[in-house]
Symmetry: C2
Subunit: 188 residues, 2 copies
């Protein structure tokens, strides 16, 4: 069961069959249709999600009605509103399926339980959080260091497939530029 999840853990920790089965028993599978909202802005958040298949966006809408995308999540990524999850606040994001999606979800209390019971899982999630931090720091750096053209190129080089799966307007909103400006750059 859940070979993708098994592989995910294997990156940082070694689990026996029994250990993995125990851990996996806390995850539940769920399918969503394109356009479904996994997490709704203003609601409380109780789960973290592991993407088996499909593509999602984490987005927020500003006072002018413009959408800004914090991140995309594709296969083997984890996604949630961690701010809301950790601080028990209401979510400021919508997390929405951009394709039909298959997820495994884990409740916050089960995650904490797993981390408390199994040192290995605490270790896994520490490293996962650290690598998430590093990647987000990279994103900050790209935003303050690079102009639009070079932000576009970097993203395109790193995730060429993304541009086939996602409308350009969303890529623009992820890069922090207008749809029109991106369109003019992508021609070049």
């Amino acid at each position: 069961m859940y070979p993708a999840l098994r592989q995910q853990f294997a990156e940082f920790v070694q689990l026996s069959e029994e250990e993995f089965d125990y851990v996996a028993s806390f995850f539940r599978p769920k399918k969503f249709k394109k356009h479904s909202i996994i997490i709704q802005s203003g609601e409380l958040v109780n789960h973290e999600y592991f993407v088996i298949k499909g593509l999602l966006k984490t987005a927020t809408i500003d006072e002018k009605g413009k959408e800004h995308i914090l991140q995309f999540a594709m296969e083997n990524w984890w996604v949630s509103d961690y701010q809301a999850l950790m601080s028990r606040e209401r979510s400021q994001f919508n997390i929405e399926c951009l394709e039909n999606v298959e997820l495994l979800y884990l409740s916050l209390s089960d995650k904490n339980k797993l981390c408390a019971e199994m040192h290995k899982m605490e270790h896994f999630f520490r490293l996962k959080a650290t690598s998430g931090l590093i990647n987000t720091q990279k994103r900050v750096l790209v935003l303050i260091k690079n102009d639009t053209q070079s932000r576009y190129n970097l993203l395109f080089d790193q995730y060429p497939l993304l541009f086939q799966r996602v409308p350009k307007a969303l890529v623009a909103s992820y890069l922090g530029v207008s749809r029109e400006t991106l369109s003019r750059f992508s021609a070049k």
Copy 2:
């Protein structure tokens, strides 16, 4: 010894006197003069630092010679190049003291040892990494969502003291705008 460190751990875990003393024994104090470079771009990174006193910047220089600041670190913050530390790569940053600084430093191997031996410490560092991730995500969001004026206001509201401790040119470089533009905004 190290009451600030003690308090730092207490935010997430309860340690007995003996436990704390044991953990603290892996930390070493060190003082640096203003302008000292703690981590030099191009070097390997082996330590993580906890700021007891003073202020530092984590910065990188682009091909045009312009400096960009990933973060400031003040009292009770942790600082290092986590990318370099975790992946055993050479640092892309300079981490420099903007004031006279007192630090406690911990080697990567000792951190891993502590995490392996003491589940509580692994827990602490998991939560610390998670909260670092959340804060960095907030920073990304501010960068793509807000214009310069409002980025300036948000930073000023959150860290008013920073503006007294740091030259405006550095604040500009942290916000991702030119010194001149920031100067015109700060007047308003």
